[in-house]
């Protein structure tokens, strides 16, 4: 292992341009992936905020008694999905409508809007199905006239988020594939640069597995270096975007470590895919 490490370092020294090319390719693949993930992450953050405003509004019949409403609110408040239940009187509804729609404030009259029970759901219980399910249960109370919860709107939010995530994953895989292909190609040159060592190793009885080791180590190190470079670039990009466009959130540490690991996997995989074939060409 020690020798393999040393040989890997010799590989770097002997072909610095080639090594730089591999590292840059990995870095740019991961950078592109990183940028997209950053967009997806921030989109998800934004969606989460919008989502938190998702509300189920149960309009009440005019003759509903205060006791029955209080009982119902207690029952609804006990649902696992429910974060908060709020009673909105006719007057409050009128007040809210007037502030939200100023230009029509004169149009609204007392008693024009029904009283309602507004329900907010907990995080993680805001999928379209769950919202519809809770709305359905609320609908069963006798004094509830109508239930509104913006079903289509929720559905759309979810679709956008899913598309963003899927696009991120697909794009990431495509870029990783490109990086692997390029690294496989550079291995050919790296093997040629070390043809003499390889032929001597073989002459004195080193196994193919052993001869392969330095190249895999080299791939690993290049992958990590590419990952670090990509991380730096992504971080810089997020700084620039935050400063000049919109405030952005950066990845959690766990995700950045995953990025480095991704670089290492690309480096090792790219090397492993072609090194066996290439070293067999050296006599």
């Amino acid at each position: 292992m020690k020798l393999a490490l040393r040989e890997a370092m010799i590989g770097f020294r002997r072909a610095p341009m080639l090594s730089a090319l591999s590292i840059t390719t990995i870095a740019f693949s991961l950078f592109a992936f990183g940028l997209f993930s950053l967009v997806a992450l921030n989109l998800r953050e934004a969606l989460r905020q919008v989502e938190s405003r998702v509300e189920i509004r149960a309009f009440l019949a005019d003759d509903a008694s205060v006791e029955s409403i209080a009982d119902a609110m207690k029952v609804i408040g006990d649902y696992a999905e429910v974060a908060r239940v709020e009673y909105v009187t006719q007057e409050q509804a009128l007040e809210r409508a007037r502030t939200e729609l100023k230009e029509f404030s004169d149009v609204f009259e007392a008693g024009f809007l029904p009283a309602s029970v507004d329900v907010r759901l907990r995080e993680g219980f805001r999928s379209p199905e769950q919202v519809a399910d809770v709305a359905q249960r609320i609908r069963t109370f006798a004094f509830v006239d109508d239930v509104r919860f913006g079903a289509e709107w929720i559905q759309k939010l979810y679709t956008i988020r899913n598309v963003a995530t899927a696009a991120g994953i697909i794009l990431g895989l495509v870029f990783a594939g490109v990086a692997i292909i390029i690294i496989s190609a550079t291995i050919r040159m790296a093997v040629m640069a070390r043809a003499r060592e390889i032929s001597i190793m073989r002459l004195v009885g080193a196994t193919d597995g052993f001869i392969r080791q330095p190249f895999l180590i080299e791939g690993f190190v290049k992958g990590i270096m590419g990952g670090v470079l990509a991380l730096g670039l992504t971080w810089f990009a997020s700084l620039v975007i935050s400063k000049y466009f919109v405030q952005t959130t950066f990845f959690e540490t766990r995700f950045t470590l995953l990025g480095l690991l991704g670089g290492a996997v690309i480096g090792v995989l790219g090397s492993a895919l072609s090194v066996g074939r290439q070293i067999r060409k050296v006599t």
């Binding site: 073989r202 009885g205 080193a206 193919d208």
Partner: protein, 231 residues
């Protein structure tokens, strides 16, 4: 120890290199392999260290059969034999000490064992004082001695030498040849391909002569007859 049985070797581009070659070499023998350029000497040597495998026939080397041999078995076989070439094949960017150590290192010899062994080998080939020099700081003869030290690193049972003195002047040739004889005396078989007829004539070792891909003369078969050596 080494046995060729009706060996035929064809190359895709250049055609037949060896045809119906049969011979065997015993433990501890010293054998000259002679013949004109392109006769098939190098092919025979490559078949011995299994860099090439026969198209037909079979090669046996110390228990390893060429038929159906696996790459791993070839690696293990190479640990039991040493090979040197006309062009030395040293690593130019490392000291001669590191060149010899390399052969031990790649097969996983422990570091302390490598150190003692390398110094013993360099002493054996007379280069202990130049351990830290780079190959280019040495003469041709000295470089070949380094290559021989490397070939001896794993205590081979046979040393295969392809024109080891081909690039050397007379003095260096004598020195390298003397070293090969000493190695042989110590029990290692030596198979040496050479163009140097003076060397061949001056010593009473077995001669295998190859011409146009066939063994045309084997002194072991014709004891007493004066070999007709083609230049």
């Amino acid at each position: 120890m080494i046995r060729f049985t009706r060996v035929r070797k064809e190359y895709p581009r250049t055609g037949t290199a060896l045809n119906d070659v049969t011979f065997s070499i015993a433990k501890g023998e010293f054998v000259f392999l002679t013949g004109p350029s392109g006769a098939g000497k190098s092919s025979i040597l490559k078949l011995i260290y299994m860099d090439e495998l026969p198209t037909h026939g079979e090669v046996w080397v110390s228990g390893t059969r060429s038929t159906g041999v696996k790459r791993k078995e070839i690696s293990l076989l190479r640990r039991k034999l040493g090979v040197v070439f006309q062009d030395f094949r040293l690593l130019e960017d490392r000291s001669i000490e590191a060149n010899v150590a390399f052969a031990l290192d790649v097969i996983g010899t422990p570091a302390d064992k490598i150190r003692t062994k390398v110094s013993r080998l360099l002493t054996q080939v007379g280069l202990a004082s130049k351990a830290t020099n780079l190959p280019r700081e040495l003469s041709g003869g000295e470089q070949q001695r380094v290559a021989i030290a490397r070939a001896l690193a794993n205590d081979p049972f046979v040393l295969v030498a392809d024109e080891p003195t081909g690039n050397l002047d007379d003095r260096a040739t004598r020195g390298v040849f003397q070293l090969l004889r000493e190695i042989n005396t110590a029990g290692t078989a030596v198979i040496m391909a050479t163009h140097n007829l003076d060397l061949v004539k001056r010593h009473d070792f077995r001669v295998l002569e190859v011409n146009r891909g066939q063994i045309v003369f084997d002194s072991a078969d014709e004891k007493g007859r004066v070999p007709e050596i083609t230049p």
